[in-house]
Symmetry: C2
Subunit: 615 residues, 2 copies
């Protein structure tokens, strides 16, 4: 532990600019839209215990609504207000408390649908729902000071402790879907009550192959729910990606509280495994639709990318936890990769609709019909168009809550240094410093930092992984430490600028990634770009881009565009054509790229991130 | 109808050379091996009506054995002998006849396992088995003159006529898996009894969406078994590929017998659809594992290619039927494409083991583990290694029978011309001509034709689609007609040579084939080549080939090799790497190609047909 801590969003005010506009849309549109859809689809009805036979209900409804409550709580904490939403939440909590069992048990599905099955089905998300309700209860109590939801959950946690630990009446030991573990560590952090940390450790320590016998998970392989090895021995990210990263967050947080070196080392290994072998260039993780899972190293298919929104959010949160452990810019680099790509692709630019899966290629000719790669019966959701709500609608409220607390990701403290992890137009205001960050990031890599410092001796500014050279003015970099530039910070007023020299560049994959061989991705700063057929009227894979192309950038519109020089394969009548030495079968073409985060915001069309290249 | 007819294998003797060696292995190894495996796996046991509870049995066992009988019959017809095999077959037929029902019904599965379900289950291959038994009975009678099997099947056909047509006691009208239709046309052709043609037409005419209501096929979409439209209205190859081409063969054969122009036109459209939009470069068809089916146009994925051996064989037979209708070299071109690629890839070089699926790429890192593209639970068979027998072992005896009659594909007659469709070291001997074809095809494009002609006025020699230029000596081409070179043939002795100038060349796909964009396939004459990791020790997709490469060919070994110049992407430590303008991230490499038909004959390893290119 290097005396690092993250600075909460409470101290961060987003100013007019990129992130404020995104977070405003989240606040003004997305959160309201998710609420409306959740009312329409009976989620609130079920949680109000108004379920009647035939109504929609599902084991994970409580968690969907919990994440929405958590999102609202962050807004209340930050801005106050939201009286209407608070009224809804307070009434809901009252209904829940009225139906909480004498034991303290509270779950809208099991109480109404299968009371006899309480704590008997490992696969049915019971403790996952409990975990999300705990997170929401903490946030809501912190934001409003209102105790009922927190008290309800403390009673439930006591019930859980009895059923799983002291009396062992539950028919399983660890929940199939992780979440309770990280929630219990947060509850310990919030209340200081050590029992909650002990409970988290109990669930972590018992996640191992010899504990739970569950036919479902045994048939799927125990790695699906990370029960294949004791958690301290896990070094490869395996199984359902959301479950995995939620577990890793709990492991890292618990390790930081207990000083458990083995647990900490496992988290380091798991993070390395993800970012070096199993992460899409967009920050997405979990390659396989089947099991929503991590797969073998370097298996990163584009058309079939699963890359669930919740998994990318989980990776951000895992990196945020790791960022407290050690100064290493790869944590914030990873957060940045997700923030500007997979996180924002998961919500439409108007804030109303969402992707569950974030594909890296759309090929409409293969959609909605039986094809070899994506038979329609295996196709879970239309991945070329966002939807307002899903049957399994975990992602939309997850996006709500992460954007509501986005300020959490920007700053940390390292000893007497202020660490600047992310960049955006914002102000930081704490007892120690008032800092203004002025920037057009991610359209421009120039960042001006100014303000008044009363406590820090230096700034540690992350040098992004993509930055080949930079210019500092108003200060000098004393050193570069694990990807951070150290700059002396005088007490009193300060002003300095840094320019990361943002320009379009190409990325190639490790050649072990079969799908990306012979291809490059265009990036601009942290932003991954893609081709959309809306701007390039042809089979996108028939295009190739010149590696020595000049670029034209137009960032003046809602959907920025970078134009590059390339070629296109001439069409043919025959399926197979002899290549003769004297015939050039390509012709010049202009390739028009847009940010990946903007794809599928116009009419549905083909999209491609990894583009064939030539030199 | 242009007065065309195919010349039977009976008149064709393969001489020492490429095809003789393949057919000798089929005769001496494969047919014996398939017999042994079918005995071991209880197929013969079941057909001898010796099934006991717990023994293996399946609805398609009769068809497996029938194809093996048909293969043996062709060998007997050609060479005589095979006393041992004939004894086995005669005893088997006696057992079957002893258990044939009074109605004439004969099916080892239904009589022993589900007698109450006879003719009630459209999906259960009953008439498919009947069709294969009819084909075998014709071949066996023709070869041996023995009537019992043919008589048994004539009784069964009468039973089928009553159940399906006159008395309509059967609970479905058309069988889910086509085969009976083409068998009935062949039976008509063999016996001259028009009733059998009428029965074929009955089954063809009733294959339409408004006839059979079968929940299984309705849920799969009626196109799975080609019941989505009346057959005369079908213009797109859809559904299960083997079923489809077996249907098309029957349609074309029936059209030729009846002069039905609509049926004939449908076959032309279906053939065009296949070869222009749905055929792998290897001649494989049926892109999707799911449903073993044709998919949307240009959906030809390499790693996931299904490309069943039986489907490719069906395509050969469909083209063989079409070849009788019209002089058009594309029929024989298609046959050649299958012969030298998908047909031979489907059997190991030692003749002992078989591919059910013929993939166009092997990526071992993705095999046997959960990956996004090929989760192991969906993986039907190990496609990187041939097996001696499968649970569903339709392909091995299909390969047996097609190689046993391979001579059928070489010659046809067109008016008073002899048509040379395929090339190989062989002799043709009929009343009209004695012809020797001397060639090292497919290693060399030089072909010497000599002999004594007593009836033909000209030769029509197919100019293969891949032939850019040729040299004729000893004769002159009068004209080129639909892909055939017309050469005058004097009465009496003749000798001429043609050299198709075989050399390595590259093929590119129509750019609508997403998977092959930016890639080429190396071919040499009709032979498609591939890279195997055994010869190229790296991630194969990281290689790229120079379009202007020179080639070195070594055809002196069992596995020929063509060497080309190329590059390889340098390895990287990171998953994603900035491409800087001043760094060449490739280095020179030599690419070693082997014929696709030879892949997976050494240790299991990666394989790649479509290779990235550069210029």
């Amino acid at each position: 532990m290097e005396n690092l801590k993250n600075i909460s969003f409470e101290s961060v005010i987003l100013n007019d600019g990129f992130w404020k506009s995104k977070c405003d849309i989240n606040k003004n549109v997305s959160i309201k839209s998710v609420y409306a859809r959740f009312e329409e689809t009976g989620r609130f009805n079920a949680m109000r215990f108004a379920y009647k036979e035939g109504d929609p209900i599902h084991v994970f409804y409580d968690s969907d609504v919990a994440k929405w409550i958590e999102a609202v709580a962050y807004l209340v904490q930050k801005e106050g207000g939201y009286a209407e939403e608070q009224k809804i939440i307070d009434a809901l909590i009252a209904d829940m408390i009225a139906h909480q069992l004498p034991s303290g048990y509270i779950n809208s599905y099991f109480i109404q649908k299968e009371p006899e099955a309480i704590f008997t089905k490992r696969s049915e998300h019971e403790l996952y729902c409990a975990g999300h309700l705990i997170e929401a209860a903490i946030a809501y109590h912190k934001a409003t000071g209102k105790r009922p939801m927190l008290d309800m959950m403390l009673r439930y946690v006591d019930c859980i402790e009895r059923a799983f630990i002291t009396e062992k009446t539950a028919k399983f030991v660890t929940c199939g879907h992780e979440e309770i573990e990280l929630a219990l560590v947060r509850l310990y952090e919030y209340t200081g009550v050590k029992k909650y940390l002990d409970m988290a450790l109990f669930f972590l320590d018992n996640r191992r192959p010899d504990v739970d016998a569950d036919p479902l998970y045994d048939s799927r392989e125990k790695s699906y729910c990370q029960s294949h090895l004791p958690v301290r021995e896990q070094t490869e990210a395996l199984g359902h990606a959301v479950r995995a990263v939620y577990l890793y967050i709990a492991m890292e947080e618990a390790a930081q509280k207990t000083g458990d070196k083995e647990l900490s080392a496992a988290c380091d290994a798991l993070f390395e495994d993800i970012i070096n072998k199993k992460m899409f260039i967009t920050g997405g993780i979990g390659s396989a639709r089947d099991g929503e899972a991590f797969t073998v190293p370097f298996d990163l298919p584009n058309l079939e990318a699963y890359s669930e929104s919740c998994a990318a959010i989980g990776l951000m949160l895992f990196a945020l936890s790791l960022q407290k452990k050690r100064l290493d810019s790869r944590f914030a680099d990873t957060i940045e990769r997700v923030m500007y790509n997979n996180l924002l692709s998961s919500v439409s630019m108007d804030g109303k609709s969402f992707f569950y899966e974030n594909t890296l290629e759309v090929h409409l000719a293969s959609v909605g019909k039986d094809t070899a790669l994506v038979p329609s019966k295996r196709r879970r959701l239309p991945r070329y168009q966002r939807l307002e709500v899903f049957d399994c609608s975990c992602c939309p409220p997850n996006i709500n809550r992460i954007l509501a607390r986005l300020g959490d990701f920007f700053f940390s403290e390292h000893g007497d240094s202020l660490v600047v992890n992310q960049f955006g137009a914002l102000s930081l205001s704490t007892e120690k410093i008032s800092l203004d960050m002025a920037t057009e990031y991610p359209s421009n890599g120039k960042i001006k930092l100014s303000g008044k410092n009363s406590a820090y001796s230096s700034l540690l500014i992350r040098r992004p992984w993509w930055c080949v050279n930079y210019e500092l003015s108003g200060a000098e970099a004393i050193s570069e430490e694990n990807g951070y530039l150290r700059v002396n910070l005088p007490v009193g007023e300060f002003e300095l600028s840094i320019d990361f020299n943002m320009k379009p560049f190409f990325i190639r994959s490790n050649p072990k990634v079969r799908e990306n061989c012979g291809r490059v991705a265009l990036c601009y700063g942290p932003t991954v770009f893609c081709l959309e057929r809306n701007d390039n009227d042809c089979e996108l894979n028939a295009l190739s881009v010149a590696l020595d192309s000049d670029f034209e950038c137009d960032f003046s519109t809602d959907i920025p565009m970078v134009t590059a020089r390339g070629r296109i394969a001439k069409p043919t009548d025959s399926l197979y054509n002899i290549v003769t030495a004297d015939t050039d079968f390509t012709q010049p073409a202009t390739l028009r790229f847009i940010p990946y985060r903007c794809f599928a915001n116009r009419s549905p069309c083909d999209m491609l991130v990894w583009v064939p290249y030539f030199l």
